[in-house]
């Protein structure tokens, strides 16, 4: 006989405004197991989690925790009931101390007041479980994002959790920090705390999970022991296509046979911003895809934001199309023919309340409008055109962009820049947090654009994307260009060595 599962969700239904998000979805998690939940954007993973932790109400179905029927009214109730959720973005209180963040909602009290010495002790104990020996009196924001993430997990576990839900926990972690997280997950599992692990990164599942459940279109497709499945098998279940087809096409949507021209479009020489970027140099030719690689904090985003005029250089030169190109504002860069798709769609990309139409034409308005008035018919035509060309899945161009999946939002943002007909397109993590299907489409689109003469500077943390997509990869370490890998010697190993290599260099 199997032990009573820690969680059993049976035949869950949920629809929004008549459109089903989950239909007859069931999920069983064993005590202490690490269970992955995967699927494309819009497959219903988030809905499933939110029903479990009480953020949404289910329309039908049953939830049992340790064999007892439960129905949480809010994530806080769920937390007290033993189900803790750690969200994609760390949602703690940045300006308060580590201790306050950990004990918030369950402060030890003495005579009705918070017993601070006891609170600090409790916080320290909780963190020590994860081998984290830090000063708990300091404010949270004085620690880096990885430690914040660990603190969030520590907080979640301190509620005597039976089940911890992690939604894309590694999205802001580097390789080393990921390993720390995985160790924590294994420790949790050893203490019989189950983990529901939601991620787009299949490699991580194989590193840390026991079982995996695949969702598609609001339904559970299958649950496997991780040892019994292959990456390609999982991908094919997620997108509902045959595994052989995928194997033939390669891991990304990039082909292999594009070459750039001779004309130099962008040239950086010893660019610096005085802090995180010290000596960044690179060249982009017309029609090339140049990759920009490096660890978190290596200055990749800071470098491109200077090219775009969002930040000002402190030293070095930028030349765009042969002319000095130190733009004082993004508007100037856009005028000159540069587009910039930011890394953080939500914070720096979309205008959530505006429609697809309004978001898509935002950067084009100065050219689209005549005497400040937007020509409606022209605008609609243009938007229709891009929705069709990029295969944006939507109920219509007047739909608010926040209702779209990540992949479709990204396509709208790409369209925002393509509409301005740029000569250089800067892409910062263009496929982060996007489901497999849309990812391949976007990669194929980037490739197609570069073949038609667009120059692309692409920041990516995904090696596959860089290796298969880029003509050349420039590697940054601590704000300095350390090496440039040409297509011929661009392999997973060479890239890894270049990105992580500064330890060796320093040792020699």
């Amino acid at each position: 006989m199997e032990a009573t599962p820690v969680l059993r969700m049976t035949s869950i239904d949920k629809s929004f405004g008549g459109i089903p998000a989950l239909s007859n979805a069931s999920l069983t998690i064993r005590p202490g197991e690490v269970h992955a939940l995967i699927g494309q954007n819009g497959a219903g993973k988030s809905t499933m989690i939110k029903i479990l932790n009480g953020a949404y109400k289910k329309d039908a179905g049953d939830i049992e925790l340790d064999g007892n029927p439960v129905q949480f009214g809010s994530p806080h109730e769920a937390q007290l009931g033993g189900v803790s959720t750690i969200f994609q973005e760390v949602n703690l209180v940045h300006y308060r101390s580590v201790t306050e963040n950990i004990v918030l909602g369950q402060e030890p009290k003495k005579f009705g007041l918070i017993d601070w010495p006891a609170a600090h002790r409790r916080a320290q104990e909780v963190l020590m479980r994860f081998g984290l020996d830090i000063d708990v009196h300091k404010p949270l924001h004085s620690y880096n994002i990885a430690i914040q993430q660990l603190i969030a997990i520590a907080r979640a576990v301190s509620f005597d959790a039976r089940l911890v839900i992690m939604d894309e926990p590694t999205s802001s972690l580097d390789e080393q920090e990921k390993q720390v997280l995985f160790k924590v997950i294994r420790d949790l599992s050893a203490e019989n705390v189950a983990v529901l692990y939601v991620s787009h990164h299949l490699d991580e599942l194989f590193a840390v999970c026991d079982r995996v459940t695949v969702m598609r279109n609001g339904q559970m497709i299958a649950t496997h022991d991780i040892a019994d499945v292959s990456k390609i098998g999982l991908v094919s279940e997620m997108i509902g296509r045959d595994a052989n087809q995928i194997a033939k096409a390669g891991a990304t949507g990039f082909g292999h046979n594009h070459a750039g021209g001779d004309k130099v479009v962008l040239e950086l020489q010893s660019l610096s911003n005085g802090t995180s970027v010290q000596d960044a140099s690179l060249i982009v030719h017309q029609g090339e895809i140049v990759g920009l690689a490096g660890l978190l904090g290596s200055g990749r985003t800071e470098t491109v934001s200077m090219i775009f005029g969002a930040d000002q250089p402190a030293g070095g030169t930028i030349r765009f199309k042969g002319k000095p190109g130190a733009f004082r504002q993004p508007a100037q860069a856009i005028n000159a023919g540069i587009g910039y798709c930011t890394e953080d769609r939500k914070a720096e990309g979309i205008i959530p309340g505006l429609s697809i139409r309004e978001n898509l034409t935002l950067a084009l308005l100065p050219r689209l409008a005549s005497r400040g008035i937007i020509p409606r018919a022209t605008e609609r035509e243009l938007v229709d055109d891009f929705i069709a060309k990029l295969g944006i899945k939507t109920a219509g161009m007047e739909q608010p962009i926040r209702e779209l999946s990540g992949g479709n939002q990204q396509k709208v943002l790409l369209a925002r820049w393509l509409a301005t007909e740029p000569e250089l397109l800067i892409l910062d993590e263009p496929t982060r947090g996007i489901d497999v299907g849309a990812k391949r489409e976007i990669q194929a689109l980037i490739e197609g654009l570069s073949q038609s003469g667009l120059s692309v500077l692409m920041i990516s943390s995904e090696f596959e994307e860089l290796i298969e997509g880029a003509n050349r990869v420039v590697v940054l370490q601590e704000g300095k260009t350390v090496t440039t890998l040409e297509k011929d010697n661009l392999t997973e190993d060479s890239l890894l060595a270049a990105v992580a290599g500064h330890v060796d260099v320093a040792a020699e």
Partner: protein, 331 residues
């Protein structure tokens, strides 16, 4: 069995659509409800005189609320509108009562109105400048003129009531076109114009983008500072205009009373009309309806002999209701 399932779904759906109707047209329905209630309980409500009084009074709230809605859409707030009203309301008579104004009545009047509007413009730009240049939070930045503009108006008038007799200027507050108060028509025309601006111009789109996500707006090539400056300037001009209307109604400028608590009425009207204090939404026509609701509540309580202080509480309740409805909407 299947039949019973069907009925429940239909019942659910029709319930939902009624809810949706109330949510998306809540402000308008509230206005209708207020009118119906008044028809039942307020004596002499259905008379032209009542309509006239209400239209006269609502116009100033509405005009200021339009500007406030724009500012709120940009993600800000403007507490100085009442004080700017007092300043423009005092400045205009100061010009046409001056030696030059008396010697050249026409020229003096035109100049008076222009300078009244200009004062609003300058105040608005000053607000925008503080917010842009020093990154001061709007609620604090506009507090400066909330105090200083009224102070300036009091200096201009020596703190006294300045009575005047200038029929041409008084048209702003007492004139009628087709039997309707001039300022009410002005409010409607301004609302239609601004509503068009928000929907059809680049500036309107930029306004919503800046309010909805300033970072993304900047990276899309929008000059966030310029949009903010223009928005506060529009709000200032509208407040200046409203201030002159109040002086025209009273045939006197009163630096101490003109525009008192107007900032709160205007914010309330904007919020009741559907503006979100988070920014990114500019329901201009909603602000017009919101102003009518605020006015009608005031009038209802007054006409039924309820004390002023109680009326303030009623206003507070309406704001809470409006915010509550918005919270539901955001879901």
């Amino acid at each position: 069995m299947s039949e019973s399932i069907n009925t429940t779904t239909t019942a659910k759906e029709s319930g939902k659509s009624l809810q949706d109707l109330i949510r998306s047209n809540g402000t308008f329905l509230a206005l209708i409800a207020l009118i119906v209630i008044n028809m039942l309980i307020t004596p002499n409500f259905l008379q032209l005189q009542t309509l006239y009084v209400n239209l006269t009074q609502v116009a100033t709230i509405a005009i200021v609320a339009l500007g406030m809605t724009m500012v709120i859409a940009s993600g800000g707030i403007d507490l100085s509108v009442g004080a700017v009203m007092a300043l423009s309301g005092a400045l205009a008579p100061y010009i046409f009562l001056s030696d030059f104004g008396v010697a050249n009545p026409t020229m003096g009047l035109v100049l008076a109105i222009l300078i009244g509007l200009l004062a609003g413009l300058v105040c608005g730009m000053f607000n925008g400048f503080l917010i842009n240049q020093f990154a001061i939070q709007p609620i604090v930045a506009t507090l400066v003129l909330f105090i200083a503009a009224r102070g300036l108006a009091q200096v201009l008038t020596n703190g006294n009531l300045q009575v005047f007799d200038n029929p041409a200027f008084e048209f702003l507050g007492t004139g009628r076109i087709l039997g309707l108060p001039f300022q009410a028509l002005a409010a409607v025309v301004l609302a239609l114009a601004l509503s068009w601006v928000v929907r059809r111009t680049s500036y309107g789109r930029y306004l919503l983008a800046v309010g909805g996500n300033p970072k993304a707006a900047n990276l899309s090539g929008i000059s966030v500072n310029r949009v903010r400056l223009l928005t506060y300037a529009i709000c200032g001009v509208l407040a200046g205009f409203a201030g002159m209307v109040v002086s025209a109604i009273n045939s006197a400028s009163d630096a101490n009373q003109t525009g008192q608590l107007m900032e709160l009425d205007a914010i309330a009207a904007a919020v009741v009309g559907g503006a979100s204090l988070m920014g990114g939404k500019a329901p201009i026509i909603g602000a017009l309806i919101g102003a009518c609701i605020i006015q009608l509540v005031k009038y209802t309580l007054l006409a039924n002999g309820v004390h002023d202080a109680v009326a303030l509480i009623a206003k507070a309740v309406i704001i809470i209701l409006a915010v509550y409805v918005q919270l539901n909407r955001a879901e």
